[in-house]
């Protein structure tokens, strides 16, 4: 994966597979402390202690067609190669939280990439899930919650072209404005 936004997409897919009805994605850039933290938190079925202990092993997977599951091991490796750390908390019946932290300015830290694109894919592609996105740069926050949007739409599908445009614009503008205000270039 060449973008952190693709890792986020990948982990969020796990949350969907775990039957989550609510998934919160948070990206925090602390420019003063030079840390970048990504958190993906879901209310899916969770994992027991035994599974949790093995989950970062590439040969552990819920897939039935192959014996390899690389998403988590790759994300963990990415964080750890950037003076960061990786943590998964989970409880059966309660959900799972994946946290990846990076030294923001580390030379190997891949760019965040197309966050709006990842979010659009998730929101429109899996509309039954309640999606929440928080993007913090230092103390400034862009908060996106699709619940008020779905309430107003009241049954009009998200795949309606004008609705997709609205969601796309809201995400793009929110993210770009936040970065611009913080003086963060768009390609990081």
């Amino acid at each position: 994966m060449r973008e952190l936004a693709l890792h986020i997409l990948d982990i969020a897919e796990n949350s969907i597979s775990a039957g989550a009805s609510r998934i919160r994605i948070s990206v925090e850039e602390n420019l003063d402390k030079d840390r970048l933290t990504i958190t993906i938190e879901d209310n899916g079925k969770g994992m027991d202690a035994e599974t949790l202990a093995k989950i970062t092993d590439p040969f552990i997977t819920s897939r039935t067609t192959r014996k390899v599951g690389l998403g988590i091991p790759f994300f963990k490796a990415a964080a750890e190669s950037c003076e960061g750390h990786f943590k998964i908390q989970s409880q059966p019946g309660h959900g799972t939280t994946v946290t990846a932290e990076f030294k923001r300015s580390h030379i190997d830290r891949m760019p965040l990439g197309d966050l709006a694109g990842t979010l659009q894919t998730l929101i429109i592609g899996t509309p039954d899930v309640h999606w929440i996105f928080d993007y913090c740069i230092n103390d400034e926050v862009f908060h996106f919650d699709d619940e008020p949007i779905k309430e107003i739409l009241d049954g009009v599908p998200l795949s309606e072209p004008s609705v997709m445009r609205y969601i796309r614009d809201t995400l793009r503008t929110g993210i770009d404005d936040l970065r611009q205000d913080a003086g963060v270039p768009t390609n990081q």
């Binding site: 597979s17 897939r63 694109g117 659009q120 107003i152 609705v163």
Partner: protein, 122 residues
Amino acid sequence: MPTVKSLDDLKKIREEALKKQQMKETSGKTEVIVGMGTVGIAAGARETLKAILDMIEEDNLEDIIVRQTGNIGLDSFEPIVQVVLPGKEKVTYGRVNGEMARKIIKQHILGGEIVKEYQIEG
């Protein structure tokens, strides 16, 4: 936090959408499913899905539902796109990039003709 569009704009969008629905006869919806497993993502599935959403938005294509799914089990053919026209069987396409996705929408979804050269056995 500045926002370009307010929730009021969304209310207007909803009204327009409902008006449009009232004017049309209900025909079945086409389903487009894009595989979004780890291999799919690494192969560019997000870009494929984006291209599909962009085309729907640009050309105002109605009655197409785009969904994503996990790993389908055909890793060497990722990104995978499946198309289900109303009342028809699912058609599976492999190694679909953005450009191919647009052709599939044009030829198969809008034109009713399966794009045989992209099709794989699903």
